[in-house]
Amino acid sequence: MDFLFSYIALAEVYVLLGLSTNLLVGIAGIFSVSQAAVFGVGAYIVAQCLMTETMGFVPAMLVASLACIALNVLVTLPSLRVSGDYFVVTSFGIQLLATAVFINWTQGTGGANGLPGIPPPDLFGFALESNLHLVMLTTVAVALGCLAFRLIMRAPFGRLLRAIREDELAVAAAGKGVLQAKVSAAALAGAFAGSAGGLYATFLSFIDPVSFDLDASILLLTMVVVGGARTLAGSIIGPFLLLALPQVLTFIDIPTTIAASARQLIYGVLLIAFMLFRPQGLAGEKL
């Protein structure tokens, strides 16, 4: 059962990230490609807190979430000044800047070598070592995340975010707080990404910059797009499906000389096909 548990635990971490990305990209219309950077900051903070034994798992998660809220608000600030493609490029820049920090700030992140030996999460003095316990932990986290997402979507705040995405000028003209709404969405997305980072670090017990680079950000985006933007179901299906894909693909017999590229190629084809024929993803709304 360990495999199933570890798969579910990992997928659930990505569901949290999917919710975060969906909130920002799908719902608030802030097209960010730097969510993996925020995710990484959460992971490094929790890892450092636990490895230096500064604090326990729960306070560490809290610190990571708060830090990521602040960070995400900061990195989405440019979206208030620049729009559309400008922000995409800014966001690319932020992601690359973060990768440079992850690789080069050796004291904080262990540099390119990463941080091995992160202790397992502990709850009230009880260390969660087995995959079953970890799955229970991530499931609780995801359930909370989904509940929050659902409540927000139904609340007036959710409707305001939708309205901003449809027509920002009209909302601003109607005197609604566009700034406040965007900042709140970014803060919430930051909290999701930060806690996902903490869970990821303690689940893997090893983190390195590879997990938080531009490719990871694009993978996240792909998960949301394939699953379906703007819906809870989409944020759940995408991560589960895309994490399973490499496992499924190992069954397809491809000559080893081209296997290296052939599997990556399938991602590309999937992206194009979804955009052309089903831009709403498997269970989402039209982007």
Binding site: Y7, N113, R263, A283
Partner: protein, 367 residues
Amino acid sequence: MFRSIRFGLALAAAGFLTLATASAETIKLGAILPLTGPGGLIGTQQQKGIQFALDHINAKGGVRGNKIEVVFEDNQAKPDQSILSFNKLVDLQSLPIIFTAYSGPSLAMAPLATRKKVLLVNAGAQADALAKASPFLINTLPTIGDEIAVLCQWLVKNGKKNAAILFENSAAGISGRDNYVTHFKAAGGTIVAQEPTQFGQTDFRPALLKLADAKPEVMLVSITAAAQQMAQQYKQLDLKFAVAGTTFLQDPALIADPAAEGFMHTQLQSQSPPALAAEFKQKYNAEMEFFVRQYYTASNILFAAMDKVLEEKKPITGENVRDAILKIKNFSGLVPVVFNSNTASVPFDLKVIRGGHDEQMVELKAQ
């Protein structure tokens, strides 16, 4: 909505159904390698090395009559995919032994290996942390530090006291850099400058220029790719200092390039006899390169250890095979490999590139 979720889950679940079922006389091993992505090139070489060794042992009837099979998993050199693959192989297929490569993924799997008593066999990565990561992680090659310590001593002894370091900003490159700094100073030399390059970038000119400005006598190199381009730019810029590196510089394209004339590098001894190399070439239409040889050798070490375990009428478990490796201690395949600990020591040479060939300078021994 729920129907869509169920659809997604069903598709995901389909992935877990394993197709192969083991027959009684088949011993199955696992291999978690980067078969796709930027590490795919090296991963597929490693895969061929294992496959080549498998074909040989099975042609001979297997280990004590038991056929060997290896289940390959792709981790894209990513730690999280490695964990999934590890659990898949250990949990669903109960494989006792898994080949691994790359420092990050190996370090990520090490705690799991300890907990589940599964033997990890690394024949490619050389990061220092691997030596102490897990009692269940066997490294069939020394960590980079051993090679570098000896190289630095030789260089300082031969009058190269001021060194500049060119390193790749990646796990392997930085690990090499750190070792150069430690060991070159320990040997009595001075590091006058160090400069990074980005993995995948082939423009070394700015870094080379800056290093040259510090007037070193030797440039210590720790890059894992594009060594040929580095050599060409070194030549174009008319730089005069000596160049020295580790096994990473044992790259056929580099050695064949006239720009690399006079470059020195340590090299783990790993020759393939001409007949074997020819057979490999005929089978895979590729040269039997370093990583092919490494994983071929590692596979044979495992087969020998498994033979001993079976001889003693014990079951093939990670623990038993590891103990057998440490007990046998000396393996002679393509090269002599000695296990004084989890990490093997392998003799290595100092070579110099002359006229498109690697020439032996001295044989060195790790302390």
